[in-house]
Protein backbone atom coordinates (compact mmCIF):
# COMPACT_ATOMS: atom_id res chain seq x y z
CA UNK A 1 0.00 0.00 0.00
CA UNK A 2 1.07 3.54 -0.65
CA UNK A 3 2.08 5.35 2.52
CA UNK A 4 -0.15 8.40 2.59
CA UNK A 5 2.39 10.60 4.36
CA UNK A 6 5.05 9.72 1.86
CA UNK A 7 2.60 10.47 -0.93
CA UNK A 8 1.72 13.91 0.42
CA UNK A 9 5.36 14.71 1.05
CA UNK A 10 6.26 13.74 -2.50
CA UNK A 11 3.32 15.74 -3.85
CA UNK A 12 4.42 18.78 -1.83
CA UNK A 13 7.93 18.44 -3.19
CA UNK A 14 6.66 18.11 -6.76
CA UNK A 15 4.19 21.00 -6.69
CA UNK A 16 6.83 23.25 -5.11
CA UNK A 17 9.03 22.81 -8.14
CA UNK A 18 9.16 25.80 -10.41
CA UNK A 19 8.47 23.90 -13.58
CA UNK A 20 5.27 22.29 -12.30
CA UNK A 21 1.98 24.10 -12.81
CA UNK A 22 -0.48 21.75 -11.16
CA UNK A 23 -0.83 18.28 -9.76
CA UNK A 24 -3.75 15.98 -10.41
CA UNK A 25 -4.37 13.37 -7.73
CA UNK A 26 -7.07 11.90 -5.55
CA UNK A 27 -8.81 13.11 -2.41
CA UNK A 28 -11.64 11.65 -0.34
CA UNK A 29 -15.13 12.09 -1.71
CA UNK A 30 -18.04 13.61 0.14
CA UNK A 31 -19.80 10.48 1.30
CA UNK A 32 -19.44 6.73 1.53
CA UNK A 33 -16.24 5.14 0.34
CA UNK A 34 -15.80 7.35 -2.67
CA UNK A 35 -12.71 9.22 -3.76
CA UNK A 36 -12.61 12.05 -6.25
CA UNK A 37 -10.00 13.79 -8.36
CA UNK A 38 -8.06 16.61 -6.71
CA UNK A 39 -6.45 19.47 -8.59
CA UNK A 40 -3.58 20.76 -6.51
CA UNK A 41 -2.31 24.22 -7.44
CA UNK A 42 0.06 24.90 -4.55
CA UNK A 43 1.99 23.19 -1.77
CA UNK A 44 -0.68 24.01 0.82
CA UNK A 45 -3.32 21.92 -0.95
CA UNK A 46 -1.47 18.62 -0.71
CA UNK A 47 -2.74 17.73 2.78
CA UNK A 48 -5.84 15.95 1.52
CA UNK A 49 -4.26 13.73 -1.10
CA UNK A 50 -4.77 9.99 -0.76
CA UNK A 51 -4.42 6.80 -2.68
CA UNK A 52 -6.72 3.93 -1.75
CA UNK A 53 -8.48 1.21 -3.73
CA UNK A 54 -11.38 3.66 -3.98
CA UNK A 55 -9.37 5.82 -6.40
CA UNK A 56 -10.97 4.47 -9.53
CA UNK A 57 -10.83 7.50 -11.83
CA UNK A 58 -8.40 7.58 -14.70
CA UNK A 59 -6.69 10.93 -14.30
CA UNK A 60 -4.99 10.72 -17.69
CA UNK A 61 -8.22 12.07 -19.21
CA UNK A 62 -7.75 15.45 -17.56
CA UNK A 63 -4.44 16.08 -19.28
CA UNK A 64 -5.92 16.00 -22.75
CA UNK A 65 -9.29 17.46 -21.81
CA UNK A 66 -7.91 20.63 -20.31
CA UNK A 67 -9.20 23.61 -22.23
CA UNK A 68 -6.43 25.49 -23.92
CA UNK A 69 -7.44 29.13 -23.85
CA UNK A 70 -5.89 31.43 -26.40
CA UNK A 71 -2.83 33.25 -25.12
CA UNK A 72 -3.29 37.00 -24.72
CA UNK A 73 -1.16 39.32 -26.77
CA UNK A 74 2.18 39.95 -25.15
CA UNK A 75 1.88 36.93 -22.85
CA UNK A 76 3.87 33.75 -23.03
CA UNK A 77 2.03 30.40 -23.03
CA UNK A 78 2.28 28.50 -19.74
CA UNK A 79 4.54 25.59 -20.64
CA UNK A 80 5.03 24.28 -17.12
CA UNK A 81 4.49 20.59 -16.50
CA UNK A 82 1.32 18.98 -15.23
CA UNK A 83 2.01 16.34 -12.59
CA UNK A 84 -0.39 13.42 -12.55
CA UNK A 85 -0.85 10.39 -10.34
CA UNK A 86 -1.42 7.23 -12.35
CA UNK A 87 -2.09 3.58 -11.69
CA UNK A 88 -0.76 0.91 -14.05
CA UNK A 89 -3.76 1.02 -16.36
CA UNK A 90 -3.86 4.82 -16.41
CA UNK A 91 -0.19 5.01 -17.32
CA UNK A 92 -0.98 3.13 -20.51
CA UNK A 93 -3.36 5.92 -21.45
CA UNK A 94 -0.45 8.35 -21.12
CA UNK A 95 1.73 6.10 -23.27
CA UNK A 96 -0.95 5.86 -25.94
CA UNK A 97 -1.53 9.62 -25.93
CA UNK A 98 2.18 10.21 -26.36
CA UNK A 99 2.31 7.55 -29.06
CA UNK A 100 -0.26 9.66 -30.90
CA UNK A 101 1.84 12.75 -30.23
CA UNK A 102 -0.90 14.42 -28.21
CA UNK A 103 1.80 16.15 -26.18
CA UNK A 104 5.49 15.77 -25.44
CA UNK A 105 6.87 13.67 -22.64
CA UNK A 106 8.42 16.72 -20.97
CA UNK A 107 5.02 18.39 -20.59
CA UNK A 108 3.96 15.93 -17.90
CA UNK A 109 5.45 14.66 -14.68
CA UNK A 110 4.20 11.21 -13.83
CA UNK A 111 3.82 9.96 -10.28
CA UNK A 112 3.39 6.23 -10.74
CA UNK A 113 1.46 4.13 -8.27
CA UNK A 114 1.88 0.37 -8.50
CA UNK A 115 -1.62 -0.95 -7.92
CA UNK A 116 -2.96 -4.35 -6.95
CA UNK A 117 -6.54 -3.55 -7.85
CA UNK A 118 -9.22 -0.99 -7.19
CA UNK A 119 -12.77 -1.64 -6.07
CA UNK A 120 -15.82 -1.60 -8.25
CA UNK A 121 -17.93 1.10 -6.60
CA UNK A 122 -21.13 -0.49 -7.85
CA UNK A 123 -20.25 -3.67 -5.98
CA UNK A 124 -19.41 -1.71 -2.82
CA UNK A 125 -22.64 0.24 -3.09
CA UNK A 126 -24.61 -2.96 -3.51
CA UNK A 127 -23.01 -4.52 -0.46
CA UNK A 128 -23.16 -1.45 1.79
CA UNK A 129 -26.05 0.65 0.50
CA UNK A 130 -26.57 2.48 3.79
CA UNK A 131 -23.11 3.83 4.45
CA UNK A 132 -23.46 7.56 3.95
CA UNK A 133 -20.80 8.90 6.27
CA UNK A 134 -17.20 8.83 5.21
CA UNK A 135 -15.66 5.39 5.09
CA UNK A 136 -12.26 4.11 4.11
CA UNK A 137 -11.09 1.19 2.03
CA UNK A 138 -7.67 -0.39 2.20
CA UNK A 139 -6.25 -3.45 0.52
CA UNK A 140 -4.42 -5.72 2.93
CA UNK A 141 -3.15 -8.95 1.43
CA UNK A 142 -6.10 -10.68 -0.18
CA UNK A 143 -8.72 -8.67 1.64
CA UNK A 144 -10.29 -5.26 1.38
CA UNK A 145 -10.61 -3.70 4.81
CA UNK A 146 -13.56 -1.34 4.99
CA UNK A 147 -13.77 0.96 7.98
CA UNK A 148 -16.90 3.01 8.58
CA UNK A 149 -19.04 4.08 11.54
CA UNK A 150 -16.28 2.97 13.88
CA UNK A 151 -16.46 -0.61 12.63
CA UNK A 152 -14.04 -2.57 10.49
CA UNK A 153 -15.02 -5.24 8.03
CA UNK A 154 -12.89 -7.54 5.95
CA UNK A 155 -14.11 -8.61 2.54
CA UNK A 156 -12.27 -11.01 0.20
CA UNK A 157 -10.57 -9.19 -2.69
CA UNK A 158 -12.48 -11.09 -5.39
CA UNK A 159 -15.80 -9.90 -4.05
CA UNK A 160 -15.29 -6.17 -4.53
CA UNK A 161 -12.43 -5.78 -6.99
CA UNK A 162 -13.19 -4.24 -10.40
CA UNK A 163 -13.41 -6.72 -13.27
CA UNK A 164 -10.63 -5.00 -15.19
CA UNK A 165 -8.23 -5.62 -12.29
CA UNK A 166 -8.82 -9.37 -12.52
CA UNK A 167 -7.37 -9.19 -16.03
CA UNK A 168 -4.75 -6.52 -15.38
CA UNK A 169 -1.56 -7.09 -17.33
CA UNK A 170 0.33 -4.01 -16.20
CA UNK A 171 -0.08 -3.33 -12.46
CA UNK A 172 3.07 -1.21 -12.38
CA UNK A 173 2.97 2.00 -14.42
CA UNK A 174 4.79 1.72 -17.74
CA UNK A 175 5.90 5.33 -17.64
CA UNK A 176 6.79 7.34 -14.56
CA UNK A 177 9.18 9.89 -13.16
CA UNK A 178 8.67 8.91 -9.54
CA UNK A 179 7.37 5.61 -8.27
CA UNK A 180 5.49 6.01 -5.00
CA UNK A 181 5.64 2.37 -3.95
CA UNK A 182 7.43 -0.87 -4.70
CA UNK A 183 6.84 -2.43 -8.07
CA UNK A 184 4.07 -5.00 -8.34
CA UNK A 185 4.66 -8.02 -10.53
CA UNK A 186 2.09 -9.09 -13.06
CA UNK A 187 -0.46 -11.16 -11.18
CA UNK A 188 -3.14 -11.77 -13.80
CA UNK A 189 -3.59 -12.17 -17.52
CA UNK A 190 -6.35 -11.70 -20.02
CA UNK A 191 -7.64 -14.59 -22.11
CA UNK A 192 -10.66 -12.76 -23.64
CA UNK A 193 -12.92 -15.67 -22.74
CA UNK A 194 -15.98 -13.40 -22.53
CA UNK A 195 -15.42 -12.03 -26.03
CA UNK A 196 -14.74 -15.49 -27.47
CA UNK A 197 -17.93 -16.79 -25.89
CA UNK A 198 -20.02 -14.03 -27.50
CA UNK A 199 -18.26 -14.46 -30.85
CA UNK A 200 -19.38 -18.07 -31.03
CA UNK A 201 -23.09 -17.28 -30.89
CA UNK A 202 -25.32 -17.15 -33.97
CA UNK A 203 -25.78 -13.80 -35.72
CA UNK A 204 -29.41 -13.39 -34.65
CA UNK A 205 -28.51 -14.22 -31.10
CA UNK A 206 -25.69 -11.69 -31.04
CA UNK A 207 -27.87 -8.97 -32.47
CA UNK A 208 -30.64 -9.72 -29.97
CA UNK A 209 -28.07 -9.30 -27.22
CA UNK A 210 -26.72 -6.00 -28.54
CA UNK A 211 -30.10 -4.63 -29.57
CA UNK A 212 -31.23 -4.88 -25.98
CA UNK A 213 -28.07 -3.16 -24.75
CA UNK A 214 -28.02 -0.41 -27.36
CA UNK A 215 -31.71 0.37 -27.01
CA UNK A 216 -31.02 1.33 -23.38
CA UNK A 217 -28.55 4.03 -24.41
CA UNK A 218 -29.72 7.56 -23.63
CA UNK A 219 -26.86 9.14 -25.59
CA UNK A 220 -25.51 11.09 -22.65
CA UNK A 221 -22.01 10.71 -24.19
CA UNK A 222 -20.49 10.09 -20.75
CA UNK A 223 -18.46 7.23 -22.19
CA UNK A 224 -16.95 9.58 -24.73
CA UNK A 225 -16.32 12.39 -22.30
CA UNK A 226 -14.56 10.27 -19.70
CA UNK A 227 -12.40 8.38 -22.16
CA UNK A 228 -8.71 9.32 -22.03
CA UNK A 229 -8.39 8.50 -25.72
CA UNK A 230 -11.37 10.61 -26.88
CA UNK A 231 -9.75 13.98 -27.15
CA UNK A 232 -10.41 15.08 -30.73
CA UNK A 233 -11.13 18.79 -30.80
CA UNK A 234 -13.77 18.27 -33.44
CA UNK A 235 -15.68 15.10 -32.59
CA UNK A 236 -17.45 13.25 -35.38
CA UNK A 237 -20.54 13.05 -33.19
CA UNK A 238 -20.87 16.81 -32.91
CA UNK A 239 -20.44 17.45 -36.60
CA UNK A 240 -23.44 18.70 -38.54
CA UNK A 241 -21.79 18.85 -41.94
CA UNK A 242 -21.69 15.97 -42.67
CA UNK A 243 -23.94 14.70 -39.95
CA UNK A 244 -22.74 11.15 -39.41
CA UNK A 245 -25.41 10.25 -36.94
CA UNK A 246 -28.60 11.97 -35.92
CA UNK A 247 -29.27 12.98 -32.38
CA UNK A 248 -32.48 10.99 -32.10
CA UNK A 249 -32.38 8.16 -29.59
CA UNK A 250 -33.45 5.13 -31.55
CA UNK A 251 -31.88 1.77 -32.23
CA UNK A 252 -30.37 2.76 -35.56
CA UNK A 253 -28.67 5.93 -34.33
CA UNK A 254 -27.66 4.35 -31.03
CA UNK A 255 -26.01 1.49 -32.86
CA UNK A 256 -24.28 3.93 -35.18
CA UNK A 257 -23.02 5.84 -32.16
CA UNK A 258 -21.67 2.73 -30.49
CA UNK A 259 -20.04 1.47 -33.67
CA UNK A 260 -18.26 4.74 -34.27
CA UNK A 261 -17.24 5.16 -30.64
CA UNK A 262 -15.81 1.65 -30.48
CA UNK A 263 -14.18 1.89 -33.88
CA UNK A 264 -12.44 5.11 -32.98
CA UNK A 265 -10.85 3.20 -30.15
CA UNK A 266 -9.69 0.32 -32.33
CA UNK A 267 -6.02 -0.19 -31.56
CA UNK A 268 -6.17 2.69 -29.07
CA UNK A 269 -8.29 1.51 -26.15
CA UNK A 270 -6.07 0.70 -23.20
CA UNK A 271 -8.68 -1.16 -21.14
CA UNK A 272 -9.03 1.26 -18.25
CA UNK A 273 -12.76 0.52 -18.14
CA UNK A 274 -13.82 4.10 -17.46
CA UNK A 275 -16.55 4.11 -20.14
CA UNK A 276 -18.33 1.17 -18.60
CA UNK A 277 -17.89 2.53 -15.09
CA UNK A 278 -19.61 5.83 -15.86
CA UNK A 279 -22.40 4.39 -18.02
CA UNK A 280 -25.68 5.28 -16.28
CA UNK A 281 -27.58 2.48 -18.01
CA UNK A 282 -24.95 -0.26 -17.61
CA UNK A 283 -24.13 -0.97 -21.23
CA UNK A 284 -21.17 -3.40 -21.31
CA UNK A 285 -19.02 -1.06 -23.39
CA UNK A 286 -15.85 -2.90 -22.52
CA UNK A 287 -17.13 -5.92 -24.41
CA UNK A 288 -17.07 -3.79 -27.56
CA UNK A 289 -13.64 -2.39 -26.84
CA UNK A 290 -12.26 -5.77 -25.88
CA UNK A 291 -13.37 -7.24 -29.20
CA UNK A 292 -11.14 -4.74 -30.99
CA UNK A 293 -8.38 -5.27 -28.46
CA UNK A 294 -8.48 -9.01 -29.08
CA UNK A 295 -8.61 -8.67 -32.87
CA UNK A 296 -5.77 -6.19 -32.94
CA UNK A 297 -3.67 -8.48 -30.82
CA UNK A 298 -4.51 -11.59 -32.87
CA UNK A 299 -4.27 -10.04 -36.32
CA UNK A 300 -1.55 -7.43 -35.97
CA UNK A 301 0.29 -8.47 -32.84
CA UNK A 302 -0.14 -4.98 -31.43
CA UNK A 303 -0.98 -3.92 -27.92
CA UNK A 304 -2.02 -0.29 -27.47
CA UNK A 305 -0.38 1.85 -24.84
CA UNK A 306 2.67 -0.26 -24.20
CA UNK A 307 5.42 1.45 -26.16
CA UNK A 308 5.74 5.13 -27.04
CA UNK A 309 7.86 4.19 -30.06
CA UNK A 310 5.10 2.14 -31.70
CA UNK A 311 3.37 3.87 -34.61
CA UNK A 312 -0.43 4.06 -34.15
CA UNK A 313 -2.01 0.89 -35.50
CA UNK A 314 -4.27 2.21 -38.25
CA UNK A 315 -1.80 4.73 -39.62
CA UNK A 316 0.64 2.01 -40.50
CA UNK A 317 0.53 -1.34 -42.29
CA UNK A 318 2.54 -4.41 -43.10
CA UNK A 319 2.61 -5.88 -46.58
CA UNK A 320 2.05 -9.34 -45.10
CA UNK A 321 -1.11 -8.37 -43.15
CA UNK A 322 -3.82 -11.02 -43.25
CA UNK A 323 -6.19 -10.77 -46.19
CA UNK A 324 -8.08 -14.05 -46.12
CA UNK A 325 -11.35 -12.12 -45.97
CA UNK A 326 -10.76 -10.46 -49.33
CA UNK A 327 -12.31 -11.90 -52.48
Amino acid sequence: MVDVNKLREKAREVISREDVRELIGYRPGTYGFRARPAFVMGPDDTGELIFTPACVNNLASYIVLEEKLPVKRGEEPDLRKVAVMVKGCDSRALVQQMEEKAYDRDRILVLGIPCRGVVDMAKVQAKYPDVLEMGEIALEGDKFVLSFNGTKEEVPREELVADKCLRCRYPTPLVYDELLDEEVERFADDDFADVAELEKRAADDKWAYWEEKFSRCIRCYSCRNVCPMCYCEDCVLDRLQPQWMRRSVDISENTAYHISRAYHLAGRCIQCGECQRVCPVDIPLMELNRKFYKDVEDLYDYEPGTNVENPPLLSTFKVEDKEDFIM
Binding site: L313, S315, F317
Partner: protein, 145 residues
Protein backbone atom coordinates in the same frame (compact mmCIF):
# COMPACT_ATOMS: atom_id res chain seq x y z
CA UNK B 1 -33.21 -15.56 -41.98
CA UNK B 2 -35.52 -17.37 -44.38
CA UNK B 3 -34.55 -17.28 -48.03
CA UNK B 4 -36.89 -15.09 -49.98
CA UNK B 5 -36.95 -15.80 -53.70
CA UNK B 6 -38.20 -12.32 -54.64
CA UNK B 7 -35.70 -10.41 -52.56
CA UNK B 8 -33.37 -8.24 -54.60
CA UNK B 9 -30.64 -6.74 -52.44
CA UNK B 10 -29.29 -3.22 -52.61
CA UNK B 11 -25.53 -3.35 -52.69
CA UNK B 12 -23.44 -0.22 -52.36
CA UNK B 13 -20.00 -0.63 -53.89
CA UNK B 14 -17.13 1.75 -53.27
CA UNK B 15 -14.74 1.35 -56.18
CA UNK B 16 -11.34 2.88 -56.50
CA UNK B 17 -10.94 5.10 -59.54
CA UNK B 18 -7.81 3.47 -60.88
CA UNK B 19 -8.48 -0.27 -60.73
CA UNK B 20 -11.91 -1.50 -59.73
CA UNK B 21 -13.90 1.27 -61.39
CA UNK B 22 -12.01 0.66 -64.61
CA UNK B 23 -12.52 -3.08 -64.08
CA UNK B 24 -16.26 -2.59 -63.75
CA UNK B 25 -16.14 -0.37 -66.83
CA UNK B 26 -14.33 -3.09 -68.72
CA UNK B 27 -17.03 -5.56 -67.70
CA UNK B 28 -19.53 -3.13 -69.22
CA UNK B 29 -17.69 -2.47 -72.45
CA UNK B 30 -17.03 -6.20 -72.84
CA UNK B 31 -20.81 -6.74 -72.54
CA UNK B 32 -20.48 -9.07 -69.57
CA UNK B 33 -23.79 -9.55 -67.78
CA UNK B 34 -23.74 -9.35 -64.00
CA UNK B 35 -26.43 -8.86 -61.33
CA UNK B 36 -27.85 -5.35 -61.40
CA UNK B 37 -28.15 -5.05 -57.62
CA UNK B 38 -24.98 -3.09 -57.27
CA UNK B 39 -24.85 0.71 -57.01
CA UNK B 40 -21.39 1.99 -57.68
CA UNK B 41 -19.81 4.94 -55.91
CA UNK B 42 -16.47 5.98 -57.32
CA UNK B 43 -13.80 7.02 -54.86
CA UNK B 44 -10.25 7.95 -55.70
CA UNK B 45 -8.74 5.14 -53.62
CA UNK B 46 -9.97 2.33 -51.39
CA UNK B 47 -8.03 4.09 -48.66
CA UNK B 48 -10.49 6.97 -49.03
CA UNK B 49 -13.35 4.83 -47.76
CA UNK B 50 -14.13 5.72 -44.19
CA UNK B 51 -15.37 2.78 -42.10
CA UNK B 52 -18.29 5.02 -41.18
CA UNK B 53 -19.35 4.96 -44.86
CA UNK B 54 -20.10 1.28 -44.39
CA UNK B 55 -22.10 1.90 -41.25
CA UNK B 56 -23.95 4.79 -42.87
CA UNK B 57 -24.81 2.81 -45.99
CA UNK B 58 -26.22 -0.01 -43.89
CA UNK B 59 -28.24 2.53 -41.91
CA UNK B 60 -29.66 4.14 -45.02
CA UNK B 61 -31.02 0.99 -46.59
CA UNK B 62 -28.15 -0.89 -48.19
CA UNK B 63 -28.32 -4.63 -47.62
CA UNK B 64 -24.63 -5.03 -48.25
CA UNK B 65 -21.49 -3.02 -48.88
CA UNK B 66 -18.59 -3.88 -51.14
CA UNK B 67 -15.27 -2.12 -51.05
CA UNK B 68 -13.01 -2.81 -53.96
CA UNK B 69 -9.54 -1.56 -54.72
CA UNK B 70 -6.32 -2.35 -56.50
CA UNK B 71 -4.35 -5.48 -55.76
CA UNK B 72 -1.71 -5.05 -53.05
CA UNK B 73 1.29 -3.34 -54.56
CA UNK B 74 -0.71 -1.84 -57.42
CA UNK B 75 -2.21 1.13 -55.61
CA UNK B 76 -2.00 4.34 -57.60
CA UNK B 77 -1.12 6.10 -54.35
CA UNK B 78 1.46 3.46 -53.37
CA UNK B 79 -0.25 1.99 -50.30
CA UNK B 80 -3.80 3.27 -49.80
CA UNK B 81 -5.19 -0.23 -50.19
CA UNK B 82 -2.95 -1.58 -47.41
CA UNK B 83 -4.49 0.89 -44.96
CA UNK B 84 -7.96 0.00 -46.21
CA UNK B 85 -7.22 -3.68 -45.68
CA UNK B 86 -6.44 -3.14 -42.00
CA UNK B 87 -9.46 -0.94 -41.46
CA UNK B 88 -12.01 -3.20 -43.03
CA UNK B 89 -10.68 -6.38 -41.52
CA UNK B 90 -11.39 -4.85 -38.12
CA UNK B 91 -14.71 -3.32 -39.17
CA UNK B 92 -15.94 -6.57 -40.67
CA UNK B 93 -15.02 -8.58 -37.59
CA UNK B 94 -16.66 -5.99 -35.38
CA UNK B 95 -19.93 -5.92 -37.30
CA UNK B 96 -19.95 -9.69 -37.23
CA UNK B 97 -19.53 -9.48 -33.46
CA UNK B 98 -22.59 -7.23 -33.25
CA UNK B 99 -24.64 -9.72 -35.24
CA UNK B 100 -24.40 -8.25 -38.75
CA UNK B 101 -23.73 -11.19 -41.04
CA UNK B 102 -20.20 -11.09 -42.54
CA UNK B 103 -21.73 -11.55 -46.02
CA UNK B 104 -22.92 -7.94 -45.86
CA UNK B 105 -19.52 -6.31 -45.70
CA UNK B 106 -17.18 -7.56 -48.40
CA UNK B 107 -13.90 -6.43 -49.80
CA UNK B 108 -12.22 -7.41 -53.03
CA UNK B 109 -9.24 -6.61 -55.19
CA UNK B 110 -10.23 -6.08 -58.80
CA UNK B 111 -7.75 -4.66 -61.27
CA UNK B 112 -8.56 -2.66 -64.40
CA UNK B 113 -8.13 -5.74 -66.59
CA UNK B 114 -10.35 -8.02 -64.54
CA UNK B 115 -13.80 -7.44 -66.00
CA UNK B 116 -14.53 -11.14 -65.68
CA UNK B 117 -13.46 -11.18 -62.06
CA UNK B 118 -15.74 -8.22 -61.36
CA UNK B 119 -18.66 -10.27 -62.61
CA UNK B 120 -17.71 -13.17 -60.33
CA UNK B 121 -17.32 -10.87 -57.34
CA UNK B 122 -20.73 -9.28 -57.85
CA UNK B 123 -22.35 -12.65 -58.34
CA UNK B 124 -20.82 -13.95 -55.13
CA UNK B 125 -21.72 -10.87 -53.10
CA UNK B 126 -25.24 -10.76 -54.39
CA UNK B 127 -25.74 -14.50 -53.78
CA UNK B 128 -24.42 -14.16 -50.24
CA UNK B 129 -26.72 -11.27 -49.42
CA UNK B 130 -29.72 -12.96 -50.97
CA UNK B 131 -29.03 -15.84 -48.62
CA UNK B 132 -29.00 -13.72 -45.46
CA UNK B 133 -31.97 -11.59 -46.51
CA UNK B 134 -32.71 -7.88 -46.07
CA UNK B 135 -30.69 -5.81 -43.65
CA UNK B 136 -32.92 -5.38 -40.63
CA UNK B 137 -30.53 -4.85 -37.76
CA UNK B 138 -29.91 -1.14 -37.59
CA UNK B 139 -31.51 0.26 -40.69
CA UNK B 140 -33.18 3.62 -40.15
CA UNK B 141 -36.87 3.15 -39.67
CA UNK B 142 -39.90 5.34 -39.97
CA UNK B 143 -40.92 6.11 -36.44
CA UNK B 144 -44.55 5.76 -35.51
CA UNK B 145 -45.13 8.14 -32.67
Amino acid sequence: MAENKDFEPNIVAFLCNWCSYAGADLAGTSRITYPSNVRVIRVMCSGRVNPLFVMNALQQGADGVLISGCHPGDCHYMHGNYYARRRFNLMRNFLEYLGVEPERVRMSWVSASEGAKWKEVIEEVSEGIKKVGPMDQFKRRQLNW
